[in-house]
């Protein structure tokens, strides 16, 4: 499995699209000048924009990498030839997944370094009202990375039974939007002040809320931007949620992939 992982990483590095996305991440360097547009919170705006930018870059990587890595291999018949070797299907799948994950972690590391440099630059010129909590900033990027790894597992899941890249890519984008919105929709639908929602819709929304991934739990940006204390219990529970959900997704993906006809 390790050889598959390394081969996957090498393959990604060779494909220049992903270099392109990372270089686009250097747009973060324009943030010091953009953040001066704020009236009262220049450092906070710098942190906001840097974290948003990093998150978006990781989303692009997840969607286009996660959605196409498996599909490309199947298309080019590499999978077919690789599986003739003494390697189980699950090792192959998990090897490929690990390769993508490692690349994403490296990207997240690169993006955090650029983010930290940019925020440091801004806080030197404009003194922040509250001290910058660097730990919170790194935790925010780390949890964004965890979120996108979970999203990648969805991309892989779609790839295991899809024959083109459409479902993995658009399905991943759809899961991302739905997962990010689920908490807000659930709160809106179940709020006592909301009257125009039928009980049927409420029941469906609640059921979906419990099944669909809750990505907003991984959004710790506000703690980084405004130097608030991290809610440690919630953060630990989210990490636990991540482990369990990821395991479920990868298990289902492995089962489906195991039964797939590959010519």
């Amino acid at each position: 499995m390790r050889q598959i992982m390394v081969a996957t990483i090498k393959g990604i590095l060779r494909d220049r699209i992903f270099w392109g996305i990372l270089v686009a991440g250097l747009i973060i360097l324009s943030i010091p000048s953009i953040s001066t547009l704020s009236m009262r919170q220049v450092p906070e705006l710098a942190i906001t924009l840097s974290l948003s930018c990093s998150s978006f870059m990781l989303l692009l990587l997840t969607t286009f990498l996660g959605g196409t890595v498996l599909w490309k291999d199947i298309e080019r018949r590499y999978t077919y030839s690789t599986l003739t070797l003494p390697i189980s299907r699950s090792s192959y799948l998990l090897g490929k997944f690990s390769g993508v994950i490692v690349f994403m972690l490296l990207s997240a590391l690169f993006l955090s370094i650029v983010t930290v440099v940019v925020i440091k630059l801004v806080t030197i010129t404009v003194h922040p009202d509250r001290p910058v909590l660097w730990g919170n900033i790194l935790v925010a990027v780390a949890f964004d990375a965890l979120k996108y790894m979970l999203l990648t597992s969805f991309a892989f899941l779609f790839s295991t039974f899809s024959t083109s890249f459409f479902l993995p890519i658009f399905g991943t984008i759809a899961v991302f939007l739905v997962g990010s919105a689920s908490q807000d929709v659930f709160e809106f639908v179940t709020a006592p002040t909301t009257q125009s929602v039928s009980p049927f819709v409420k029941a469906i929304a609640s059921a979906l809320y419990y099944i669909l991934p809750n990505f907003s739990a991984f959004d710790l940006k506000v703690y980084a931007i405004y130097s608030l204390d991290l809610p440690s219990q919630a953060v630990i529970l989210t990490a636990g949620y991540w482990i369990v959900y990821l395991t479920i997704n990868l298990s289902i993906a492995t089962i489906i992939f195991g039964k797939r006809e590959i010519k």
């Binding site: 919170q41 906001t48 948003s52 009202d129 940006k221 506000v222 405004y226």
Partner: protein, 275 residues
Amino acid sequence: MAAVFAYVLLIQPFVSSMGAKPFAVKLGVIPRAEAIKIGAADHKQSVAAYLVFKVMVYFGTLVEKAENKVEIPPDYPAMSRILHSSVKLDPYNMDAYYFAQAILVWDVKQIKLANDLLEYGMKYRTWDFYLPFFAGFNNAYFLKDYERAAQYYKRAGELTGDELHVNLAGRYMYEAGRTDLAIAYLSAMVKSAKNDAIRKSFNKRLEALKEVRRIQQAKQEYFNKTGKLPASVEELVEKAFISPLPRDPYGGTFYFDDKGEVRSTSNFASKSAAN
């Protein structure tokens, strides 16, 4: 090659025609805050910052046009709606509260709305003394609710350890203290304002109130010397109790109302602001 040549010929007239298009300064319509929240995924704070920026640019454009004598009445309700949406997305965003205080209080006189917004912000920005400071000022200067003002100033004092805030709670019990309070408040705001349009707006008001204080002090001097109250502001000028001539930056003339308070025919508002 010919195409490139044609481009070079065409580009200047094209750019001129784009520049000559009638410029509609509008804020446009934005979706409800709940809808934006759902669409904003994990970028809520960035979207909130963008909304405030939108309002700022709109207002700045109008202020610039007003200086060039093109008076376009600002769409304050739309600005207020967008700022309210912004704080629903990011309740910690200070720019939104700051701007809302600037326009809701002075230009639209929606004091209660401003205070409600500040109260909402105080639940989140628990470390920030500016929010109770603004709320205290609003209650003292406009609503004349001295008790609530004192409560807010006390909170501001607790956050900063600054005696001024607590002192202010006591000062505006006195009639003259109201003008002094406003002058102190606006002086602080002018100093800390980083946005040109807002700073100019505050400065204008500050100049007007300083003139009011000058007249009040001259009136007091007149009373101390003659035992009577002056009939008009002109009388103070004629009898040399005040020099130079008081000037209202809003273009009005100062007079004494029937309670003897200093007022101006401009009511300290630019012509386009709703009263």
